[in-house]
């Protein structure tokens, strides 16, 4: 079918073309339409030069006019305002990831105390490994006893006032020493976030560089703290992912099944929904309503979480959430926290879809709120699934249009799984890097953003990287874009350069490794740390690079900051709101290299972004003498 040029330019994904065309037919607006209506977006905001931190303003600095204001009412320059706004974004992102980690610590605590329903400690090996890392005794103790101490230790990381966050010590000694020297070794997760809010209050920290350093400190508390806790405790509770085959894209919705979408981020909810959907009573009820069964699929990071642990298909990434509802085939869209568009409420009302919110932290207009609590988790999950099953009767099959697009994928390369795929040691990987078969390793992550043709930023970059023998590790919406494109299959090695292809074929792995959700970028850090430690160098010496081609969220700002703070050069595919400050721009793109050994770059063209990453990787290879 031929589509309007306007639709074709919005995405490279054929399922999106179909659904946008369907949306137009039904006169339903999507994020792309709202983005168009928003244009031109506020230039002051784009440059980061507006400040609403006190009520003498709002102030904004004129980027052009010499007669326009050059300082806020308090005297803050563009440099100060941009730095304050930037670190507040980091605070928002670090708070989101870390609160996710806190929820996992809470679930583990309740499970250890026997107060949760439906949860168990699935990975005892990991439990013990983490306990040892924390200095918690393991010998002769039950898993519940160990888990109780581990949960309390993890919980304590958030409110800690002094000392250090345990998982930061996975970083090479040189890196930790550098953080200490710079005063950016985080003391406690919440403390660093709170300190950002304090420093950016009117009349506190007005030195752009000092502000940015605190931003980096909070971001390290995210990547090596809150996010790492989220990842590790999820593995303890739900199992450490191992490679598993699944499918992705909107075509995983089934016309003759009760379709349930789990959307959001924390596996605490989605794991129980998956369990409840397998309940024989509910399945038979679904069959009584005329459906052939219950089909659970995921969107966003929740999709990644349940896909890599259960092979639950992934319906799509961030910009496909509305399109999934527009298929008319979704009985329930169940959400928890983060990246859930408030548009889903009014949109669901156009169909029979029940939009069900579950977190006391995240309520939405037009949503049915069925609050989720660990104490009665399985029971609540069953009620939610029941609501979906009951809703199947309300589906209007004439309104159903499911695109047939779906692609096979292999997901679930946790750090442990990567090591296992390598034969139990990192040596084959190091060897491949040394011989140049693998030129370097890239971490490509992040969101979707209608500012960039959907998935084009992700795929354009990743395909270019693997073609040049760069092994890609991927999480979040990038991982889903790669899944839909077929890049998460061992067969995709055919698209890689000769060196990478031979390594992938020898090991039976895809050239793009799905490492999980956005908090699982902590897994990529762990791998980098392990490689650096094995070589006796710092992470900043490694031939590695990061990218967030279609980023949009505050979490992505925090991610970029901790990745750079860890010594990894990072390319952003959308322009961050900092260009209004020459000082901040200079610090992020140049000076940071002298401070943390890495910088940011901005490149909206994915092929050129790949070239920047490859050039960086080559320079690091040369410096290492490989």
């Amino acid at each position: 079918m031929a589509y309007d040029e306007k639709i074709l330019e919005k995405s490279i994904d054929p399922s999106v073309h179909k659904m946008l065309s369907r949306a137009a037919e039904l006169h339903i607006e999507t994020a792309w339409d709202r983005y168009e209506k928003m244009l031109p977006e506020c230039g002051f905001g784009e440059l980061g030069v507006c400040c609403r931190n006190c009520n003498m303003g709002p102030c904004r600095i004129s980027p052009f006019d010499d007669h326009g204001p050059k300082k806020g009412v308090c005297g803050a320059t563009a440099d100060i305002i941009v730095a304050r706004n930037l670190v507040r974004m980091i605070a928002g992102g670090a708070a989101a990831h870390s609160d996710h980690g806190r929820d996992l610590a809470h679930t583990l605590l309740m499970t250890a105390e026997g107060k949760s329903s439906g949860y168990e400690i699935k990975d005892e090996v990991k439990l013990k490994t983490l306990a040892v890392e924390y200095g918690i005794p393991v010998d002769g103790r039950t898993k519940e006893e160990i888990a109780l101490d581990l949960a309390k230790a993890a919980y304590a990381e958030f409110g800690k006032q002094e000392g250090f966050i345990q998982f930061t010590r996975r970083a090479p000694e040189k890196r930790v020493a550098l953080w200490k020297k710079l005063g950016i070794d985080p003391r406690g997760i919440d403390r660093e976030i709170v300190e950002i809010m304090h420093r950016t209050h009117i009349g506190v920290d007005n030195d752009p560089v000092n502000l940015i350093l605190q931003g980096l400190k909070a971001s390290i508390a995210d990547g090596w703290g809150g996010s790492a806790i989220a990842t590790e405790l999820s593995d303890v509770l739900f199992g450490t992912p191992v490679p598993v085959r699944s499918q992705s894209n909107l075509g995983v919705l089934k016309k003759d099944h009760v379709n349930i979408i789990v959307h959001g981020h924390e596996p605490v909810l989605s794991e129980m929904v998956v369990a409840a959907a397998g309940d024989p009573g509910l399945v038979s009820q679904a069959e009584k309503t005329g459906a052939k069964g219950i089909n659970v699929v995921g969107i966003c990071c929740t999709g990644n979480e349940v896909c890599m642990r259960h092979g639950i298909p992934m319906a799509g990434n961030f910009l496909q959430q509305e399109l999934a509802v527009i298929t008319g085939a979704v009985e329930a869209m169940i959400v928890d926290v983060q990246c859930i568009m408030p548009s889903l409420g009014p949109l669901s009302e156009c169909f029979h879809t029940k939009f069900i919110s579950t977190s006391p932290k995240a309520k939405f207009p037009g949503a049915l709120h069925m609050e989720f609590h660990e104490e009665k988790a399985l029971g609540i999950a069953k009620e939610i699934v029941q609501a979906a099953v009951d809703n199947y009767r309300s589906r209007d099959q004439d309104k159903v249009m499911i695109p047939e697009d779906k692609t096979e994928c292999m997901v679930g390369f946790s750090t442990e799984a990567v090591v296992r795929a390598l034969g139990g040691t990192l040596d084959p990987l190091l060897e491949a890097v040394k011989t140049g078969k693998i030129r370097g390793i890239a971490g490509v992550v992040g969101c979707n953003n209608p500012k960039i043709k959907h998935d084009h930023g992700h795929i354009g970059l990743v395909e270019e990287l693997i073609k040049h023998d760069v092994l890609v590790t991927s999480t979040g919406c990038n991982a889903m874009a790669c899944a839909k494109r077929g890049l998460l299959l061992p067969e995709a090695a055919e698209q890689a350069g000769e060196g990478l292809k031979s390594v992938c074929q020898a090991l039976g792995i895809p050239p793009v490794l799905h490492m999980g959700s956005c908090v699982d970028i902590s897994r990529i850090l762990t791998v980098c740390a392990a490689i650096a430690n094995a070589l006796g160098v710092d992470i900043s010496d490694l031939p590695v690079a990061g990218a967030a081609p279609e980023w949009m969220s505050e979490k992505a700002v925090s991610i970029g900051s901790y990745v750079v703070s860890s010594g990894i050069f990072t390319v952003l595919g959308t322009v961050p709101p900092v260009l209004g400050s020459p000082v901040v721009t200079e610090v992020l793109t140049r000076t940071a290299n002298d401070v943390v050994g890495a910088t940011f770059a901005v490149e909206t063209d994915p092929v050129k972004a790949a070239a920047l990453m490859i050039a960086h990787i080559d320079a690091k290879r040369k410096a290492l003498g490989v």
Partner: protein
Amino acid sequence: MTQPKEIFVKTDRCVGCLSCTIACAVAHSNSRTLFGAVFEKPVPKSRIYVEWSDPDKKIPLVCRHCEEAPCMFACISGAIHRDENGVVLTDTDKCIGCWTCVMVCPYGVIGRHLETHKAYRCDRCPDRDVPACVSACPTGALVYETAASFSGAVRKSASRELIRSEG
């Protein structure tokens, strides 16, 4: 004969966001992009101004391209002319920077460019269908219409007010 379009201001709609000023400067930059424009020298200039007036009115002001333009009559070097669309333009090659135009402009909307030493003002964005300031206005305070269409809309609204006041 069809009437030319003008930039009109609905003063009750302006919220003072200054988006028009940014869009104007970008439209008059070399790169025509915000992220390019902020790094350009000479610094791109906005030709539209937003004045604040007590107690809390925000008033966008831009060259009215007056039919009997005082600036055009006053220009000693003959740099100011009117093009076929009625747009009053300053020929920067001829401008000697005497600022007489600035002095006589009743709206104060002609600027002095400190780097190029030339006068600058609204050129109605000759490359665009709708001037950049109008496209950028998020509240519809700036409109690009013919005088007839603008005053027609004002009359419509005034009629409604009149009916309402009569009960």
